[in-house]
Symmetry: C2
């Protein structure tokens, strides 16, 4: 008895790796983007909004794999026009590749340097994981056409301002700065420069990038013969000699060494004189009554440690030209930032900041939140990185053949929102509207007039538009909406020219904890003349603010 | 002598039909969206942001054409997983289809009725034309799960508030309201109901939709035998009899007839008594000293004309049930809106509003700007429609099998922005930043400190980051940036502890028109002590505000 097949109903699902955002999730992100945009704008950056769709050709990154242009991106081919096959189009995977295309396309009309900011979703055709989605927001600022490290310093200062603007106070974050050129210098000293060593350098870079996860010993093993990973598989190493590995590890750990030495020096200097340190302390003494306290607690001995890091790096790069250039740039960046008031309590030189250095050509930066949060398993951990960027001088060249210097930053707004939530600095939900209930369907015009009055007074308000028969359902609805106040008026109230105003927040509190007596004594519902409705609602809203 | 082929450089172009938006284009749209969102929010609507990507299955509209699921949308197939072929994904083509999917997916967690707003880009895989792009913004608000026309009335009121909030004053717009059910009733009376007449009704609908373009005669021809279009091709008509066509045309032109009759009646009523009109005038007389003036000039005789339209429609639909239901709904909508203060100066019943009625099941609305603008050929024309919407009760049913009533609006923000520009109510460009020029590269830290001071005072400012050798280039840059002020300091200034502050707006004015004498008399450059830099810059900015 075969029945005719019905077309099955479509599944109401987001595609795998995508999600919907509701209410406060949307408005809080919008508000954060607005605040960051205001800072970018104040720094002279102009808004740019390119389309979500680019030609695969312009995006570039994925071109080498010609047979499968959609690896990593969402791509499709346009319909052919006559004999001409359609272009391959793709969703942008970041905001930097479109910037390079825009600058190349419009460079005659744009100012040079061109400071631009952009914010919006980007897409990655990757396997989604927990908390990892295939569409997410980026929020970037870049300066194109400015070769000077003053542009990099400006980006770092702006990054600090952005974090403070969205609610991360000074002391809760640090911007760590490194320079790709210093690593190049270190490679040179370790005898790893030259075309023929490119593969080896690649292994070194990947090993160095794993410091966080593998620790000093693990990275050291990967620089040498290799190591067994957790699954027991053997990962071949770069095969560096012990001396070569020492140089690279010295680079990676120079901040830690400088910090340890700083603390030693500070402790000793309290007892005896010391040239450099003494003069530096003298300067501090001019300004502060308790310089030691200040240095150790507030500045975390940062400026001195910064000098020591540069000293350490200087030893490591020897007379490598590019290495010394890198160190000079780091010195200039910190000096420029100091002059603007962005000192070592906010800006720290840290050679362990790697950020997939292959992409960058000069300074790199990373903003890290320094406070602890509790993870989903109840363990404390550092929140970690929320923004990163650096100098990349080759992106526009693909289009024009000319090298165009560029530097920029990308702020992870979703991670920043998560951080503010984790610290309890942001409400999970937003306040619901005042709900005008419907006791008498025939009086809908009166209810609409009430709600219009409330809105005109700037109060978020709505009339109940479901089936009004069951009044309990209306109060359940108000509860689900998170409404602070319900307005109630039936035949009696209209006759008397009054309305009932119910304080739902107080009502919920009483219901939770009060005895019957208290319930009677603490009314959460008030009868007021109709023309005092707005005033009474506002009074209740203000009381709960 | 074959040379090895080089990989050609990629073209720096947006894909066909896409474009980039710069500076004020981006910030003005963002600001408009923020204002509209604030109104939506005040009405109790919650934000929703779904992903740009949906399954083709969930989007639905395009399913019939199984072989070519990407007609009209940008679509692609996911990689297969083992034996399972990948899903077809697509970019959303509007914000309503995703809403239906979201409501069906999350209906147990969402309040009912669910009021939501959404704003963001949508994509259409169509042939682009002048001013017509394949990515554009929509800005929607919808109420799902509210069967009452109170929900439709609320949407109309909210639409008025949105327009006024973004800078379209009362009197410069009108929200026109119609009801699909009235047309259904008219079809019934014309003998065009029933499954077997569906094709005929389709031709009638398409003809009716062309009133603007073809005029009364053209539409009438299409209802009958057909007509020759401009190119000489013959378009077959619906083949209605003269009587049938009369009914449909009567529907379409009822607003014009009602308006003509209103003016006649008003003129006559000034001389003699008349039942209905007299009592209506009496009511108006209670409130206004000069009712006739008020009625004719300010209200455009709207309320009375509205009553007459309903009267006309009543005659047309006879005793058709659905037709009369439609008229009742229109009456209720206008009554509810009147009660909230949204009278016929803003809300007009207009049977010629069609809006692809096939999609809608009840009330439909359209916001039209009533002022004239000058088109690109210098001719005056009405700006026309900037928003539209209506009730659609079948969208969620696809997923759940249950009919869920819904009504909503979509505001065309790009058209609204164009209208404000056309009326000169919005600047084409935004003010550029104050530019701190670089006279001495070695003093970059000092320039950075200046610019930091300006920013901390809330002034948009930047330091020149290009090659500073040619000072003329720096002023050209400031000009290209639209900078109001340049700050200049070289060795002399630093020695004297002063800065030069150049008023670029005044400078440009003088350069345009002044004689040499005037030039000398009206300095546009000031020397001030370094610690008065911020105050002087602010003084100049305030003067140009």
């Amino acid at each position: 008895m075969a029945k005719p097949k019905k077309t099955p109903r479509p599944k109401a699902d987001t595609p795998k790796g995508f999600r919907d955002y509701f209410g406060a999730e949307v408005t809080q992100r919008a508000e954060m983007l607005r605040k960051i945009a205001a800072v970018y704008h104040r720094y002279g950056f102009d808004a740019l909004e390119s389309a979500a769709v680019e030609t695969v050709e312009a995006l570039g990154k994925f071109l080498p794999d010609v047979d499968r242009p959609n690896a990593g991106v969402f791509a499709w081919q346009e319909d052919a026009e006559g004999d001409k096959p359609g272009d391959w189009l793709a969703l942008r995977y970041d905001l930097t590749a479109p910037l390079a295309r825009v600058y190349a396309q419009h460079r005659n009309d744009l100012p040079t340097p061109y400071r631009r900011y952009a914010m919006g979703p980007v897409w990655r055709n990757e396997k989604p994981g927990p908390g990892r989605f295939r569409q997410f927001y980026q929020c970037d600022a870049d300066t194109v056409g400015a070769p000077s490290v003053a542009a990099d310093a400006e980006i770092c200062a702006m990054l600090c301002d952005c974090l403070e603007e969205v609610g991360i106070p000074r002391g809760d974050y640090v911007v760590r700065v490194n320079n790709r050129k210093v690593l190049d210098g270190v490679m040179e000293v370790a005898g790893l420069s030259g075309e023929d060593k490119a593969a080896k350098r690649g292994i070194v870079l990947r090993a160095v990038d794993k410091l966080d996860r593998l620790g000093v010993e693990g990275v050291r093993a990967l620089l040498g013969e290799g190591r067994k990973d957790e699954s027991g598989d053997f990962a071949a190493g770069a095969g560096l000699s012990a001396e070569q590995a020492d140089v690279v590890m010295g680079f990676l750990t120079s901040k830690e060494r400088a910090r340890a030495k700083t603390l030693d020096d500070l402790r000793n200097a309290a007892k005896r004189e010391d040239g450099l340190l003494a003069s530096w302390i003298a300067t501090e003494l001019d300004y502060h009554e308790e310089p030691w306290k200040l240095i150790e607690e507030r500045f975390n001995a940062g400026r001195y440690a910064g000098l020591l890091v540069l000293e350490e790096l200087s030893k490591l790069v020897g007379d490598s030209l590019v290495g010394n250039q890198g160190i000079d740039e780091l010195e200039m960046i910190t000096a420029l930032l100091d002059a603007q008031g962005y000192g070592p309590d906010r800006i720290v030189i840290d050679p362990s900041v790697v950020r997939g250095l292959g992409y960058y050509t000069g300074p790199v930066f990373e903003a890290e939140l320094t406070f602890e949060i509790t993870d989903e398993k109840g363990r404390p951990r550092n929140f970690g990185s929320v923004a990163g960027g650096g100098r990349y001088d080759d992106l526009v060249k693909r289009f024009t053949g000319q090298e165009v210097p560029a530097t920029g930053i990308s702020i992870g707004v979703d991670r920043l929102l998560a951080a503010l939530h984790a610290k309890g600095r942001m409400q999970q939900t937003e306040a619901g509207p005042v709900v005008v209930t419907v006791m008498d369907k025939a009086r809908m015009a009166d209810y609409q007039a009430m709600v219009a009055e409330l809105r005109q007074a700037g109060i978020r308000a709505e009339v109940y538009l479901g089936n009004p028969k069951n009044f309990g359902n209306q109060l359940k609805y108000a509860d689900k909406r998170g409404s602070p106040v319900a307005v109630i008026a039936g035949g009696d109230e209209f006759d008397k020219g009054v309305v009932q105003i119910k304080d739902l927040i107080l009502g919920a509190k009483i219901a939770e904890s009060a005895t019957l007596e208290e319930w009677k004594d603490r009314p959460s519902q008030y009868e007021v003349p109709r023309d005092q409705m707005v005033a009474k609602v506002r009074e209740i809203l203000d009381a709960h603010r």
